[in-house]
Structures are given as structure tokens and as C-alpha cells.
């Protein structure tokens, strides 16, 4: 067609303008495509992170919700010294039912109890209690952590706790089993298979003191040292921490394990995908959980840690794409408008010869589209290296910034950590994604093609219509 021939002649003769326009388009398309590539890489990393770390949903008592449900809401803000009764008990059987949900890839629970020494189980003390210390006012007790599976405990997972002999607490554990620290074992001369007794003491004034007999299933070592310089209350000395089966911990709390499998304080469910929380809530409701009293909250800290920096980088890329696209549209539009103004005479001559306005506009569209297509091809060649370089540089900055923030936050409790600061067993620390996996896909090509050609069309059609609505005489002369 004639218009293609004219377009080709014009592009060839006005080679300087052609190169300028192609170069400008090339820069716009390269920056835009780089932004798209960073966005896609971030989206892929986020999806990968979702699949990799999933999320941990924690179920535990919301005491305010319970009191409200019992019609005893405290307007002064929080319960103070009230007996909440058995309504606040979270039972192991319920957690097991929820743990059977297909969206759960693993689960654990913790039953927290305390105990006082008996003749068969004395405290390990690195330094004896000084004379004059009121032992009733300090932590003179054993912390007893009832767990479903000790291997899932964060200490055993990250290596600060090591099993020395015997076995840990396993999901199928029944009866009163205990996993004890080697310092406690040595103090009391205990070995695997031995039996010792703990007393529930009188911490719970509503329950009478009970004596619970434990069988040692294993002995572990805690890397944390005892303080040999000054007195440490036994409850704070790592040598006195005991891991037990849920049955044993429940009995120390005066609860019968036959009633709902014992009581637990908190259950954690690992989800393959954070998006599965709604499904988990539905399954929990079906299992009989009252989600108002025992809400399920997601701790997606791992996911946020992994994708936080790359998300920030993607956000920057999105802003860049928009800015470059808008600025590009404006610049190309101005150049196209200026070019049309310069070529008014040509438009008038072609119109005077009877050429249709559509074909005249078509010639200009063909010219700018040819520049845009070459620019898109250039962008395809350049943008992968550019997005990799720029993306990695931005990302490393974000990772460093995230690391600094994490270090600053380390001293403060994690508000999203529903474990109450004890650490979530299923959430070991992770390193954020610090490399962009740039892959040029068809979708990116389509997007940059649409952006480039859309810019070309808009930049030509809008000013073109403005000129071509005039009559040839108006274009060619200023009146007689």
C-alpha cells in the first residue's frame, strides 16, 4: 500500500529523527520491560515462598472473649483474679481433629505447667539460694512444657537442644513421660527409664496438690549455661526445664487426660499455603472449635521475612513502570505532536490530492510503530541484564535494610508471634530472598508490546486527529 511506501521513504530520509525516536522508545520500553520483569520475578518469588514456608496458624485462648461469652467482660480492661473455669480449656483431642485437616502439613501443641520438687526430684542449682531470700516470691518451680512432639520444638530444630540418650516425646506418647536436662538428671541421679515424682504444688488455689509420677524417656542437653556467679531462681535456670507428654503436663494442672485428651495452652498448625487459613478455620469450626474464644491467628513472619525485601523492590519497580510509562507517553506524544505540526504542509498536500485522513494517519502510525517495534526488540535484548543488575542492587539494599530492622526488633517481642515470646516451634528463622530470578516470558512481552504500541498509537492519534479535522486550505494557508 502507498502509505507503507511513503512511511518507509520518510523513515529512511529522516534517518536522524528515526534514530532519535527509536532510541527514545528503546529507553522507555527497556525501563518498562525491566520493571515488568522485576515484578514478575517478585511475584514468582512470593509464590515460591508461599509454597516453601507456608504459614503457621496458632490457636489459643482469648480470655477477654471467654469472659465476654460468660457475661463477665471487664470494662477496666482485662481479667483480674477470676476463675474462668473449664471453659478456657483447649483440649488436645480438638487440636488433633483440626490437625487432620488436609490443609495442615504439620502441627504441634504446648501444655504449660509448673511443678515443685519432691524427694525424688530436686532442683539443679548452680549457686545455692542465699540466706534471707524469700523463696516464695521467686521462681522456685520447674517449668514443665507438655509437647506433642519434642523434635518439633524450636530448640531441637535449631540445635540449641540436643538429645543425649533415650528418645524424645513423640506424638504417640501416652502416660506421664519426661525428657529431662542432663544437669537435672545428674542432680537427681536419673537415667532413661527411671521414675521421679513432681508435685503440682499449690499454684492453682482452686485445685488440691497432686503428685505426678514421670518416667524418663530421654535426657537432653541445653547449650545455655547456668549462671555460676550469682543465684538464679530454678525456674529460670535452663537445667530445670522439663519436657513432658501432654498427659503428664495436664495432670500437673489438675486436669484429667481422659477428658478431651488433656489440656493444652496453645496449638500451632503449619499450612502449606497462607491462603488456606479460611479453609483451616472452616475445618476447625467443623471440628467443634469456638473460634471466638479460641481464635486462629496466622503468623506469616517467615513469609514476610522471605518476601519483604523483594516486595519492596517490586513496589519500586511498579512505581518505575508507571512513571516511565506516563513520562514516555507524554514525551513521545509531544514529539509526535511536534512532528505533526512540522509536517502540516505534507498533511495538507496529501489531503489536497484526495488522500483519506485514515491513510494519512495510518502512515504516521506505521512510522512510529516501526520505531516502537525496533525499540521493543532492543528492549528484549537489554532489559534482562538491566533488570537483573538494577533489581539485584535494589534488592541487596532492601535486604540490608530489612536485616538492620530485624536486628533492631530482635530485642522487642514480635507482636505477630502468638507464642507469647516463647518462639513458635514451626517457625525457624529464614533468610530473605536476595536474588532475583529474572525470566522473560510471553506475558512480559505482551505487556511491553501493548505498552509500547499503545503509547505509539495514542501519541499519534490524539494530535493527528487535531490536525486532520482541519480542511486542506486551513492546513496549507493562513487565509487570503
Amino acid at each position: 500500500m502507498n502509505l507503507f511506501k511513503r512511511a518507509w521513504w520518510h523513515l529512511r530520509v529522516k534517518i536522524g529523527r528515526t534514530v532519535l525516536m527509536t532510541g527514545l522508545f528503546g529507553v522507555i520500553c527497556t525501563l518498562t520491560l525491566s520493571g515488568f520483569l522485576i515484578q514478575s520475578a517478585a511475584a514468582r518469588a512470593a509464590e515460591d515462598a508461599k509454597q516453601r514456608v507456608g504459614a503457621v496458624a496458632t490457636m489459643e485462648l482469648d480470655i477477654n472473649a471467654l469472659l465476654e461469652a460468660q457475661g463477665r467482660g471487664d470494662e477496666d480492661g482485662g481479667p483480674t483474679g477470676v476463675d474462668i473455669g473449664s471453659g478456657g480449656d483447649l483440649h488436645r483431642d480438638l487440636a488433633d481433629k483440626i490437625g487432620a485437616s488436609p490443609v495442615v502439613t504439620g502441627y504441634n501443641y504446648l501444655s504449660e505447667a509448673v511443678a515443685v520438687p519432691t524427694t525424688s526430684a530436686e532442683f539443679y542449682r548452680a549457686v545455692p539460694a542465699p540466706v534471707g531470700v524469700n523463696l516464695d516470691s521467686v521462681a522456685e518451680f520447674f517449668p514443665v512444657n507438655g509437647v506433642r512432639d519434642s523434635e518439633q520444638e524450636i530448640g531441637f530444630r535449631n540445635g540449641t537442644l540436643t538429645l543425649l540418650s533415650g528418645t524424645g516425646i513423640t506424638p504417640d506418647a501416652s502416660g506421664n513421660q519426661a525428657l529431662i536436662e542432663e544437669r537435672f538428671a545428674e542432680t537427681n541421679g536419673l537415667a532413661v527409664g527411671d521414675v521421679f515424682t513432681l508435685s503440682s504444688g499449690t499454684f492453682n488455689s482452686a485445685a488440691s496438690e497432686v503428685m505426678v509420677e514421670f518416667t524418663v524417656t530421654g535426657i537432653y542437653r541445653d547449650e545455655k549455661k547456668s549462671d555460676h556467679q550469682r543465684y538464679t531462681p530454678p525456674g529460670s535456670d535452663p537445667g530445670n526445664t522439663i519436657y513432658s507428654s501432654i498427659d503428664g503436663a495436664s495432670r500437673l494442672q489438675g486436669k484429667d487426660p481422659a477428658d478431651g485428651g488433656g489440656v493444652i495452652r496453645r496449638a500451632t498448625f503449619t499450612l502449606a499455603n497462607p491462603d488456606d487459613l479460611d479453609r483451616l478455620k472452616a475445618d476447625a469450626t467443623t471440628a467443634g472449635a469456638d473460634l471466638k474464644v479460641f481464635p486462629l491467628a496466622v503468623n506469616d513472619k517467615q513469609y514476610r521475612t522471605l518476601v519483604g525485601p523483594i516486595g519492596e523492590t517490586a513496589g519500586f519497580a511498579t512505581v518505575t513502570v508507571w512513571l516511565v510509562s506516563i513520562a514516555g507517553l507524554v514525551i513521545v506524544g509531544l514529539i509526535a505532536a511536534s512532528s505533526l505540526r512540522e509536517r502540516r504542509t505534507e498533511l495538507g498536500v496529501l489531503l489536497s490530492l484526495g488522500e483519506s485522513k485514515g491513510r494519512i494517519l495510518g502512515q504516521h502510525i506505521v512510522e512510529i510503530t516501526a520505531c516502537a517495534l525496533v525499540a521493543i526488540a532492543l528492549a528484549v535484548g537489554l532489559s534482562q541484564a538491566l533488570s537483573k543488575g538494577v533489581g539485584d542492587a535494589l534488592l541487596s539494599g532492601e535486604v540490608a535494610s530489612a536485616a538492620a530492622e530485624a536486628a533492631a526488633e530482635a530485642a522487642e517481642p514480635d507482636k505477630s508471634d502468638t507464642s507469647g515470646g516463647l518462639g513458635t516451634p514451626e517457625a525457624p528463622s529464614v533468610e530473605p530472598v536476595d536474588r532475583l530470578d529474572i525470566q522473560l516470558g510471553t506475558a512480559d512481552l505482551v505487556k511491553v508490546g501493548a505498552a509500547g504500541l499503545g503509547t505509539a498509537l495514542l501519541a499519534t492519534i490524539v494530535p493527528g486527529i487535531g490536525v486532520l479535522r482541519l480542511k486542506p486550505r486551513e492546513i496549507l494557508s493562513k487565509g487570503d
Partner: protein, 224 residues
């Protein structure tokens, strides 16, 4: 009843000028026949170019009409009228700067749909006739003299096989001999090929060679 090839009926053209309107043509009426060369003369600013633009379909009148073979050109469509029936040689030539002399002509022929001939051959023949040599034919307008550009502009108009040819000061940049040749071409087009040629001119030489001279003064057209 036979119609003139071109009829101007009560043409009025007004242009806005500040807060007022300035009327350039005040009811111009005239018939143009095939096989004739017409010259339109008049002082500068009398509206000659405006009249040519209206007759050539480059502009629409404020009132009145232009008819081609009995049909109002507004009904034909100005673009179709320009494409099929008329061609204009502009005073400012208006050649396309990125095309060579030959390409300017073949492009016009393509747009106006000239068929049945080799466009390049026809362009070469016309340029030969108007005295544009081989080298200049391959040059773009910026590298041609004013006279050569004038010749190419005339060749472009002649190349389009139209019924009416308008020319605005076509010999303005030409020497006397070439101007005479051009006038001869116009006469041959009219007298031998039956075309209607309408020329706006200040040149007594062109006016004298015309079959009829029309005088435009203060927006009114009169025959001499």
C-alpha cells in the same frame, strides 16, 4: 440540458477577524467550460486564492455552492472531488520534502488512482516535457531550484488524470521561455484533451494566452 464542467453559484466566504467577520468573497458566480483556459486576475488580497481553494474543494464556502457537472461537490464529498476530478498547482508548490521529484509525481498518481499507464514512465514523460533533466528527477525538492520545483509541481498536477486543473501563479518562478512552454502545455491540455484549466495569475503573458480572463475585485468576479 448540458451542464458546465464547473459552476460557482453565489459563493460567499467569510473569515473570522478579531471580533468581526471579514467577507472575502461576496457572492461569486461563474461557469467554467471544458476545453477552455481561464485566467483569474486581480489585486493582491482580492480573494483569488480563496476562490481557487473553494473551486478546488480545498475549502467549503460560507454560503453558495460549487457544482461539478451539475452535482454539488458537497454531495460528491470534498475528498472524493479532489481525488477524482480536480488537481491544484499551489503557489507555494507544496512538494513533499522527503520524496524525489519522480516520487512526488508517482505518489500523487497512486493517490488519485491513475491506472493503465506506467506511473514512472508517465512521470518521466511529463518531467521531460517541462524540462527537468534525469539528474534532477532523482533529487528531493530541497536540492532543486525554485524553477525546477515549479516544474515538478506542475508535472504532479498534470500527471493526475483530472477534468479541471487549477494553478495558483504557476509561472511565478519561471523564466519567460519556460513560462511560455508551460502556457502552451495548459493550452494543449484544454484545447486537445478537453480539460478545463483555471489559472490565478498576475502575469499579463498568461492572461493574454487564456481563452477568458476573469477579474476579481473586492470579492466580486467580473468577466472582461
Amino acid at each position: 440540458m448540458t451542464h458546465p464542467v464547473l459552476r460557482l453559484s453565489g459563493l460567499v466566504r467569510t473569515f473570522p477577524s478579531g471580533n468581526k467577520n471579514r467577507t472575502v468573497l461576496k457572492g461569486v458566480s461563474c461557469d467554467f467550460e471544458e476545453g477552455h483556459v481561464y485566467s483569474i486576475v486581480g489585486p493582491s488580497g482580492s480573494g483569488k486564492t480563496t476562490l481557487l481553494a473553494l473551486a478546488g474543494g480545498l475549502d467549503a464556502p460560507t454560503s453558495g455552492s460549487v457544482s461539478f457537472r451539475g452535482r454539488d461537490v458537497a454531495d460528491i464529498g470534498l475528498a472524493a472531488y479532489r481525488k477524482k476530478h480536480v488537481a491544484t498547482v499551489f503557489q507555494s508548490l507544496n512538494l513533499l520534502g522527503y520524496l524525489t521529484a519522480v516520487q512526488n509525481i508517482t505518489t500523487a498518481m497512486q493517490i488519485t488512482g491513475v491506472r493503465g499507464v506506467s506511473r514512472r514512465r508517465r512521470a518521466a514523460k511529463l518531467l521531460d516535457l517541462l524540462g527537468v533533466d534525469e539528474t534532477d528527477r532523482r533529487r528531493r525538492p530541497a536540492r532543486l531550484s525554485g524553477g525546477q520545483q515549479q516544474r515538478v509541481a506542475i508535472a504532479r498536477a498534470l500527471a493526475c488524470d483530472v477534468d479541471v486543473l487549477f494553478a495558483d501563479e504557476p509561472t511565478g518562478s519561471l523564466d519567460q521561455d519556460t513560462a511560455a512552454e508551460i502556457i502552451e502545455v495548459f493550452q494543449r491540455l484544454a484545447h486537445e484533451e478537453g480539460k478545463c484549466v483555471v489559472i490565478v495569475t498576475h502575469s499579463p503573458q498568461v492572461a493574454a494566452a487564456s481563452d477568458e480572463v476573469l477579474h476579481l475585485k473586492r470579492g466580486k468576479l467580473t468577466r472582461r
